[in-house]
């Protein structure tokens, strides 16, 4: 037996090595998905009776659900392209031939390593009505006479949150895109130069097509995380004013943890799961089309 452990056959070894990973996935991913669906069909908080689709109907009639879905999709639609454009700009700037590479590289890594919740706190301070640096700069430029109450008005709060998300996520985009930029052969640009192509043409004809694989990967990652947005709105506004910046993730957290309504929280989670699947599927289909 001991000798078998020391020199196991290929198959035994494979099972032994893969077991921990798959046991964890079973406990933290697979079992929870099953439990989620069970929770949504039974009154787990009360008598455990079978409810059928009652929870689902309740969710569909809950205005908070529609509000949170709208906010989540809006944040995704605004911040994903926003972060892509900002990240592409940062990557192109960082790709210039600098003598010392570390200051630029560290400037891209620092926002990536910063916890989302810290970015939320820092930007909440930036957008502070009285003492925030944003209002200070806008006032000094003479663009406003009265300070804007960024986080206290629904639309301004939403804009502030989107800006924060874009700032925080664009540097990861930039790192991925920078790696893609560095793989484009210089000779392509030299050949285009000889043919008399302008910088603008080079950008659209060489850079963007060559960068496409990196862009697609970055977009998928970013969209999946954007749909889960929680930390930044939670630390900046707690979903307020009212529910103006409440996302689906925040609603799930509120029902499950604050109200201890496991059944309703689970049903919301199933909806969110379906929305994520739908969006990811849509992406993959588009990619398939582009590749064909």
């Amino acid at each position: 037996m001991l000798s078998k452990l020391r020199d196991p056959s290929e198959k035994t070894l494979a099972v032994m090595l893969l077991a921990p990973a798959f046991l964890l996935l079973l406990m933290i991913v697979v079992y929870p998905i099953g439990k989620l669906i069970y929770n949504s069909l039974y009154a787990v908080d009360k008598n455990g009776a079978f409810l059928g689709l009652q929870n689902y109907l309740d969710v569909l009639q809950d205005p908070l659900f529609w509000n949170a879905t709208k906010n989540t999709l809006l944040i995704t639609v605004i911040t994903v392209p926003g972060a892509l454009i900002a990240g592409l700009a940062l990557a192109m700037l960082a790709n210039l031939p600098f003598k010392r590479k570390w200051p630029v590289r560290l400037s891209l890594l620092l926002p990536w390593a910063l916890p989302l919740s810290f970015a939320g706190l820092i930007f909440a301070w930036f957008f502070h009505t009285e003492y925030g640096v944003v209002n200070d700069v806008i006032s000094r430029l003479g663009l406003q006479s009265e300070p804007t109450s960024w986080l206290l008005k629904p639309n301004w709060a939403f804009a502030a949150i989107c800006l924060t998300v874009i700032w925080k996520t664009s540097s990861f985009m930039a790192l991925i895109l920078l790696a893609g930029l560095q793989m484009i052969p210089k000779s392509l640009y030299e050949a285009a130069e000889v043919d008399g192509a302008s910088r603008w043409q080079q950008f659209w004809q060489i850079t963007i097509p060559m960068l496409m694989p990196s862009i697609v990967v970055a977009l998928i990652f970013r969209t999946i995380t954007a749909l889960q947005t929680f930390d930044i709105p939670y630390t900046m506004t707690r979903g307020g004013p009212g529910e103006a910046t409440e996302t689906l993730a925040m609603l799930i957290h509120k029902y499950t943890i604050d109200y201890s309504d496991i059944s309703f929280g689970s049903t919301l989670a199933v909806f969110m799961f379906v929305i994520s699947l739908f969006v990811t599927g849509f992406y993959l289909k588009q990619i398939g089309k582009n590749a064909a």
């Binding site: 020391r6 020199d7 196991p8 290929e10 070894l13 090595l17 893969l18 921990p20 990973a21 798959f22 964890l24 996935l25 933290i28 991913v29 929870p32 439990k35 929770n39 940062l90 700037l93 210039l96 031939p97 600098f98 570390w102 590289r105 400037s107 890594l109 620092l110 926002p111 990536w112 390593a113 910063l114 916890p115 919740s117 810290f118 706190l121 820092i122 930007f123 301070w125 009285e130 003492y131 200070d136 000094r140 700032w167 991925i176 790696a179 999946i224 749909l227 889960q228 929680f230 939670y234 689906l248 993730a249 499950t256 496991i262 689970s266 989670a269 199933v270 799961f273 994520s276 990811t280």
Partner: protein, 268 residues
């Protein structure tokens, strides 16, 4: 000249928030409420740092974050290294499918799993313990760690291992004496990524470990409450304390971090 402007823009974008928080942390409360606001601190002082540690149990949060992040990192590396070695080296029929399963687990929105994970931990009586966060964090880190390690294992020549086995090493002996030392750089890269991921996580830490004694830094600082208003200078000092360790870590090993990130990202 153009290059200086470009570098300046990237550096300001990356550093300005942290620098602004540093300035805020050095200002007195009186200076903070001056209008118009000052940019450079007039009389830099460290009182806010002292109060960050005395008004709130910042040291406890720091300890919790360190232990949870380190525990999750070590466990992630062990689990991922096992799986990655099997995927990279053994004669598996469904190699690609296994890798896809592990990577696809990162596609599931963590928030949707929050409810059942919360229930599980409550049933096991693990709410407000380190293990309640460490286990989900390992799953969170598994895809990127596995991807980085698979490509590292694949880059180690198989002949080296075979030679050791011909010289009388057992398979496990060859793994331990040949593969592990050679894979050390990859393990290190995956480790930094896992550490930063675990250090930054907020939603689970907020939901599963709500009691102040086991709060992590992000949760502890976000739930800081002043007597009347949100104490911005003290928050800023606490943020600086929380940011500096990770900033030093990534500054020292930036090339590795970038390499690991793009490897994990581009292959995913």
């Amino acid at each position: 000249m153009l290059r200086w402007v470009a570098a300046g823009m990237v550096v300001v974008n990356g550093f300005f928030p942290a620098v602004w928080i540093l300035f805020t942390s050095l200002k007195s409360e009186a200076e903070l409420v001056q209008k118009p606001i000052t940019w450079w601190p007039a009389k830099p002082m460290l009182d806010n740092y002292v109060r960050a540690f005395t008004d709130q149990p910042l040291l406890t949060y720091l300890k919790n974050s360190l232990l949870i992040a380190c525990g999750a990192t070590v466990l992630s590396l062990v689990v991922a290294a096992f799986a990655a070695y099997a995927i990279a080296r053994l004669n598996l029929k469904r190699r690609q499918l296994i890798l896809t399963c592990i990577v696809a687990s990162s596609m599931f929105p963590l928030v949707t799993l929050l409810v059942p994970i919360f229930e599980t931990m409550r049933t096991l009586g693990w709410l407000n313990t380190y293990i309640a966060l460490i286990l989900p964090y390992v799953v969170l880190n598994l895809p990127v760690c596995t991807l980085v390690l698979v490509s590292f294992f694949q880059s180690i020549p198989r002949d080296l291992e075979n030679a050791a086995m011909i010289d009388g090493c057992t398979r496990m002996g060859a793994l331990w004496q040949v593969v592990v030392p050679l894979a050390a750089p990859g393990v290190f890269t995956a480790g930094i990524l896992a550490f930063v991921n675990s250090w930054d996580e907020f939603l689970l830490a907020l939901s599963l470990n709500s009691s102040p004694a086991v709060r992590t830094l992000p949760v502890g600082i976000a739930l800081y409450q002043g007597e009347f208003t949100f104490p911005w200078p003290i928050i800023s000092a606490a943020l600086i304390v929380a940011i500096v360790p990770v900033a030093i870590l990534i500054a020292l090993f930036q090339e590795r971090v970038v390499g690991g990130l793009t490897q994990g990202g581009l292959k995913g």
